[in-house]
């Protein structure tokens, strides 16, 4: 019995040791990030690249996937691998056709800043520059919004509901779910929300109770995920009882946790 007990303790200690960090204090880089890359010797919006997506952290190791858009010939999703040492971070982004190497440090405000480099590739010539990253809070809470129709002047209606952001799985986007109601909207009274968020880009798929996609709302959220500003459209050509209805315009939605 003593031998079995001793063996069990050894196994338990071994299993417990699995996944432990190195003991060094490291910053928390896990979450949804919105990054901006500014090429050196330029200072215009047209030379900005953006990366958005989720990082997971295990001890000092970072993994995830980020979506590259903006000033690039090779937009797309790439995998991220990185190392954290204290507040310093080094991330290698394996984008389509090129690798982007980022080094930086976590500031007191929770944002990251540093420098990046890209070697010459089919996507373009060698370039260096600076980057900043801001962590976007989870888009979860009760929502209220105002939809202003562009199609029909003077039509303004209010919505209320809730939205929940799914867990961080290290993907370029996380799922959103929820529901939304309105007492004065021309095209719906109640819809369910199925959507995605990557960085500050969010999109809601608005579904009828029959599961039909009757509208969408897409926009940009603030980094504290308290406000989404964007556009909406309803293009529902369904026959009764869904009753087709078309409308488009702008919307501002606030989210309170």
């Amino acid at each position: 019995m003593r031998a079995i007990t001793a063996l069990s303790l050894v196994l338990l200690m071994t299993l417990t040791a699995c996944g432990k960090g190195t003991g060094t204090s490291v910053g928390n880089f896990a979450g949804n990030w919105q990054m901006t890359l500014q090429r050196d010797q330029t200072n215009t919006a047209s030379t900005l690249k953006t990366e958005s997506g989720f990082l997971e952290q295990s001890g000092g190791a970072l993994t995830g996937n980020l979506l590259l858009t903006g000033d690039t010939y090779c937009a797309g999703v790439g995998s991220a691998q990185g190392q954290v040492s204290g507040s310093n971070v080094a991330i290698s982004l394996n984008q389509i056709g090129q690798t982007i190497n980022l080094t930086g440090s976590l500031g007191s405000t929770g944002s990251i800043s540093g420098t990046y480099s890209i070697l010459a590739s089919p996507c373009g010539s060698t370039q260096v520059g600076t980057w900043t990253a801001t962590q976007v809070q989870a888009l979860t809470g009760n929502l209220q919004g105002t939809f202003t129709s562009t199609q029909t002047s003077g039509v303004v209606y209010q919505v209320a509901g809730s939205v929940t952001q799914a867990a961080n799985t290290g993907g370029s986007a996380a799922n959103l779910s929820g529901s939304m109601t309105s007492t004065n909207a021309p095209c719906f009274s109640s819809v369910s929300i199925s959507g995605s968020i990557s960085g500050t880009s969010a999109v809601f798929n608005l579904l009828s109770s029959e599961g039909v996609s009757i509208g969408q709302f897409y926009g940009t959220t603030t980094i504290d995920a308290s406000t989404i500003t964007g556009s909406y459209n309803f293009l529902n050509s369904q026959p009764p009882p869904l009753n087709g209805c078309e409308d488009f315009g702008t919307a501002v939605v606030t989210v309170k946790q």
Partner: protein, 270 residues
Amino acid sequence: MRHQGSSRRKTAVSWVAISFLLCVSVTLLACGSGTSASSSNPLSGNWEITLQRHAHPSPFVFTGFLLQSGSSVTGSMILGGGCQGVGPVAGTLEGANLSLTISEFGQDISLIGTLPPGSPSGSTFVGGAFSSVAGGCADYASTGTWSAVSVTPIAGSFHGSLVSTVNGTLEVAGTLSQGPNTGSSNATLSGTITATSAPSFCPYLSTATITGLISGTTVTLDLFGPNGSLIAQIPATVTSDGSSLTGSYTFPEISSSCVGDTGTLQLTFP
């Protein structure tokens, strides 16, 4: 007596130890078990996924194979969106709740859905909703609904006909089998085909071996004659229940009086 008691205790301890080791062995072996399709892995198989986009009348169609292992789903799809190629698929099935991400490299498409009770392969799986933020494949956010059909594996004997535009009808029979699901965007096909009716004036086909590929309901068949030469490449489609295959064939010239032939191929399983 004391010695006999000690011996019994040792024997008992040995049995306990052996039982423990057996349990551990069985558990470890179970960890590495295969991922072939079964009723407990309803998502493993050949799928055709259709995305009906909000505000866009033309759907996106993705085809390929999924592998399910427990709650984990992986696979590859031939992309039907704004970015062409083959992309990996990853997801989870937690209870009846399905979440899949199709990576188009240019952007990811998130699909969620609910698995209907008792949904077997070969039936329409009513999907759910999809969404994608703007990315490298499309510079606008995309939303809509999706549905997926599981395509039953092609297997076994068939009979059918080649209906020529000029050379009459040739009855055929044979066998065709689908290779294993490896989570790739396609699976291999292999078999044989033999003419069973009286040969036409131009004997373009008497007997041939078949190799091919299948992804979703899309099939390509290559027919090789007895001397190993390629005698026809046939693009085709198969019904989702795997019972019928339809394609169009073209035979090249085989003599000065038989300058080639075109027509349709119809096969029925079994």
